[in-house]
């Protein structure tokens, strides 16, 4: 059932000169901020363009609010606002107002409704005072914000943001992120699909993230659950008083243990373990340790930095896991 999901992508594949997609599937909930994260060339923009109807998938199905993008592309585009935040996606020699009037008319607005909507969206992105300036006089940050304003013009149910903070200084990037998270999603309840290769952005904003590598989804999960080698893996640092080869062999054999490394810190030993999401794995591991006469002095859940998790997920090793 697709009701309640805005974009719904199933087994989408593309064979392309540069970016291929291989059986990509995911669904996005209404009101969710869903991230698509991946290195350059992973296929993020291709997926967004397929959802927006600009590119046709070779196979599979893409639906937006139940509407097939292939059979009814115009109906889909009425529900989708694609924010091309590329510097070059506006008419440089026209003012921001003239650009928005043109794109707003193409989005189906006209007359007083168009003028009011333009005032609203530029107020949201803090460009009210710059509406009559020519686009080529805008800074990079202003251009990005105008791109978001354009995407909002038709009041779309789904907003697609393709790297909205690319080429923006940190202060403006922070304000764009705050706008997306606080205004668009929290206050207006928009569904947002965000493609980015900025890890902190994805971690800060997204409710769930699909991680792409070479056209394949290698994980879909909330940022907090992306740690480890896949969805729901958890890490612990367990401090014990001693260890030996026999104990290590037994702990590695515990069901649910995905990885284990040992580190000596003074008189103590640290076991860094990666467990699957089954809570019985930790219980069983601790039972094995204590039955070997080893005492446990501390158990700490571990959070890795997003960059480490991302590197793990998109590395060749992730194929094996």
């Amino acid at each position: 059932m697709t009701l309640g999901f805005i974009p719904w992508v199933r087994n989408v594949g593309r064979v392309e000169r540069q970016t291929a997609l291989e059986s990509v599937s995911f669904g996005v909930r209404r009101g969710e901020l869903f991230g698509i994260l991946g290195p350059n060339g992973a296929g993020k923009s291709t997926i967004l363009r397929i959802i927006a109807g600009l590119v046709v998938a070779d196979s599979g199905t893409v639906r937006v609010d139940g509407i097939d993008t292939r059979s009814a592309p115009l109906a889909v585009r009425r529900k989708v606002g694609l924010c091309c935040t590329d510097d070059r996606s506006f008419y440089y020699r026209l003012s921001a107002r003239r650009n928005l009037e043109y794109f707003g008319t193409l989005a189906g607005l006209y007359g007083a409704q168009l003028r009011e909507r333009i005032s609203e969206v530029v107020r949201l992105v803090d460009l009210s005072g710059d509406l009559d300036r020519r686009f080529d006089t805008f800074s990079s940050g202003m251009k990005q914000r105008l791109g978001i304003a354009r995407g909002l013009l038709g009041d779309p149910e789904l907003l697609i943001l393709d790297e909205p903070t690319r080429a923006v200084d940190p202060a403006h990037a922070a304000s764009i992120r705050a706008f997306v998270g606080n205004e668009l999603v929290a206050r207006q309840g928009k569904t947002v699909l965000l493609a980015t290769n900025t890890l902190e952005e994805a971690w800060e904003l997204c409710g769930r993230i699909a991680v792409l590598r070479r056209g394949r989804v290698v994980a879909i999960a909330p940022p907090s659950a992306l740690d480890g080698r896949g969805i729901g893996a958890v890490r612990y640092e367990i401090t014990i008083d001693r260890t030996d080869e026999q104990l290590l062999a037994r702990t590695r054999g515990v069901p649910g243990v995905l990885g284990l490394t040992v580190e000596s810190v003074g008189a103590r030993v640290l076991l860094n373990v990666v467990l699957d999401s089954d809570p019985r794995a930790l219980t069983e591991l601790l039972r094995v340790v204590s039955t070997n006469g080893v005492s446990v002095s501390a158990i700490r859940p571990q959070q890795r930095r997003p960059a480490e998790i991302f590197a793990d997920l998109v590395s060749e090793r992730s194929d094996a896991g």
Binding site: R14, E16, R17, T19, T46, R49, A52, G53, L54, V55, V56, D58, L74, A75, R77, R78, V80, L82, C84, D86, D87, R88, S89, F90, Y91, Y92, R93, L94, R98, E101, Y102, F103, T105, L106, A107, G108, Y110, R150, G154
Partner: protein
């Protein structure tokens, strides 16, 4: 249905305003266009001093070279617009980087391309009017114009040439390059369609080639209308242009649609 028609009309108008504003933002080029028209008419007027009036310049009556050439040169503008405005529009949007942003709106690709003709043809008609005004000041005879014939031939000359322009736009969408056929067609038409000299001066086999060009029939009809000929007298050319429209227009729209589908499948719609 009416609501969709109105919505499409507003999009065409928005495209008209966009193109007009963009063109007028290049002020020097904009005003040089007007100067070029005046210079062109004055040049023809001086050349005509060297060429005696002849029956070859009129449809069955003696006419001046100025009357013959200035009407042709003025209305060739329409052919140039029909050939180039659609592919120029696609090409400009590709180069500006705006094509994907435009195509991401709920607007069909065909409407986006065809709407580009709104300002382009308006501007071309203004240019034609300026040609005729300057020419009239220099002695162009406008007393015998058959307005009904002129109106019909203006419409037919555009509808018979627009398909070639649309196929050119399809070439840009699919292959990211201007079709050489556009240039060849444009240049060949200028030489073979009797713009600067009557086609009766051409060898017979070239006259046969000339007969295949829409511009030949368009100019014959338009010159005839300026000489006061009725639509009945010009019916052969009108039928040729109508037949070309009926055959080429659906074909060109089909080719364009196929090019868009192909570019979407390739993922190259916004590339150039």
């Amino acid at each position: 249905m009416l609501a969709k028609f109105q919505a499409d009309g507003r999009k065409v108008w928005a495209t008209f305003l966009r193109d007009a504003r963009l063109m007028m933002s290049y002020r020097l080029a904009f005003f040089l266009d007007w100067f070029a028209i005046v210079a062109s008419v004055v040049g023809l007027w001086f050349v005509s001093k060297l060429v005696p009036a002849s029956a070859a310049f009129g449809s069955g009556h003696v006419a001046t070279y100025f009357n013959y050439a200035v009407v042709n040169v003025a209305f060739v503008t329409l052919q140039g617009t029909a050939l180039m405005c659609f592919e120029n529009s696609i090409r400009n949007d590709q180069v500006y980087g705006t094509l994907e942003a435009v195509l991401a709106t709920p607007t069909s690709v065909s409407l986006v391309v065809l709407a580009a003709g709104a300002w382009a043809f308006t501007f071309a008609f203004i240019q034609v009017a300026l040609y005729l005004i300057v020419a009239a000041l220099l002695g162009l005879d406008l007393h015998h114009v058959n307005l009904a014939s002129l109106a019909i031939f203006l419409i037919l000359s555009i509808t018979a040439t627009v398909p070639i322009g649309i196929i050119g736009a399809a070439t840009i969408v699919r292959f990211k390059q201007t079709a050489p056929t556009q240039t060849i067609f444009g240049r060949a038409s200028t030489v073979l369609a009797g713009v600067l000299f009557p086609i009766s001066l051409l060898p017979l086999w070239l006259q046969a080639v000339s007969w295949l060009l829409p511009l030949t029939h368009a100019l014959t009809g338009i010159r005839g209308a300026f000489g006061g000929a009725s639509l009945r007298a010009l019916s052969a050319d009108a039928i040729w242009l109508s037949a070309a429209t009926i055959v080429l227009l659906p074909l060109s729209l089909y080719v364009f649609r196929a090019a868009v589908i192909s570019a979407k499948s390739d993922g190259t719609l916004g590339q150039y």
